[in-house]
Symmetry: none
Subunit: 87 residues, 4 copies
DNA sequence: CGGACAAGTTTGCCAC
DNA sequence: GTGGCAAACTTGTCCG
């Protein structure tokens, strides 16, 4: 019913483009997995040295919250400063 | 009540070590966020070019499942081979 | 300070409804536990007959992945068909 | 190298038995999924009526802990009673 | 905003 | 009995 050149949903360049996109995403996914694995390693290392993983995770979360909060605060400050023409 | 050198739960080297661990984890977490952001960018790009995100994600998932399935299958084959003394 | 009819967060019917919900969930949880126990029994039985549990679990997982993959594939096909107006 | 009747790891009845075991487990797994789905439904229903899911889960967990604790206590009581020849 | 999807956390199981 | 491994559940995120 269909020939391979004109009735496909994607033309040849579209197929190439799609292939590129998929490969980029799969490569990034591998990177993400690699980083996760690295983190697991560090956690395992810490555990092996007797650190409490639950507490450690809690510390990381708190520090992250603090950073986010600090950034938010700075953003507001900048906003106010620019609002009064100070920046 | 406590001096800083002898009664703390962590001695000075332990504190240093902990600090190092936390910094490594935070660095890795940044990496992970960066990779996630990159993926978001690629998805947004693909969307902008008219590709269907849901279908795209489905394709990635399927390809990943195929890889996982192939790996799992090989593992089982090895298991069976060793079970019958072939390895 | 509070009478029991007007200032509670949940009125009487709300309390009844909540009780019903909790009981349904607890009943379902019992069912789930029962099924899990049944599975444990079957696994124990199989082990007693000399089957390798690890291999058995691997087979189940693989068959489940196959089913999932097939379903996913069909979903994608449908998606593509609808994307080109075939459905 | 191998014929199909004598050198396989599992003889015919063993294969049948294995098939039976797998089917029982897969059936039980379906049951488990069904129960989980039912629970999801009830949770969704409760959410739709305005109940707080997190709190609801907490209540279920607490009640389950209480039951476990009570059962444990009763077990100890029975143990003591039987120890003094009361049962 | 609400539901789907993925990540992280916790729990249970098997091997040593 | 313990410790690593794997599965289940819960939480958070992202798209529609």
């Amino acid at each position: 019913m269909h020939d391979t050149t004109s009735t496909d949903v994607l033309d040849q360049s579209g197929q190439m483009r799609l292939r590129t996109i998929i490969e980029r995403l799969e490569r990034l996914d591998e990177d993400k997995t690699a980083v996760s694995d690295d983190m697991k390693e560090v956690f395992a290392e810490a555990k092996g040295e007797g650190y409490d993983l639950k507490a450690l995770r809690a510390v990381l979360k708190l520090r992250k919250m603090d950073r986010a909060k600090r950034l938010e605060l700075e953003a507001i400050v900048d906003l106010y400063l620019s609002a009064i023409g100070e920046i």
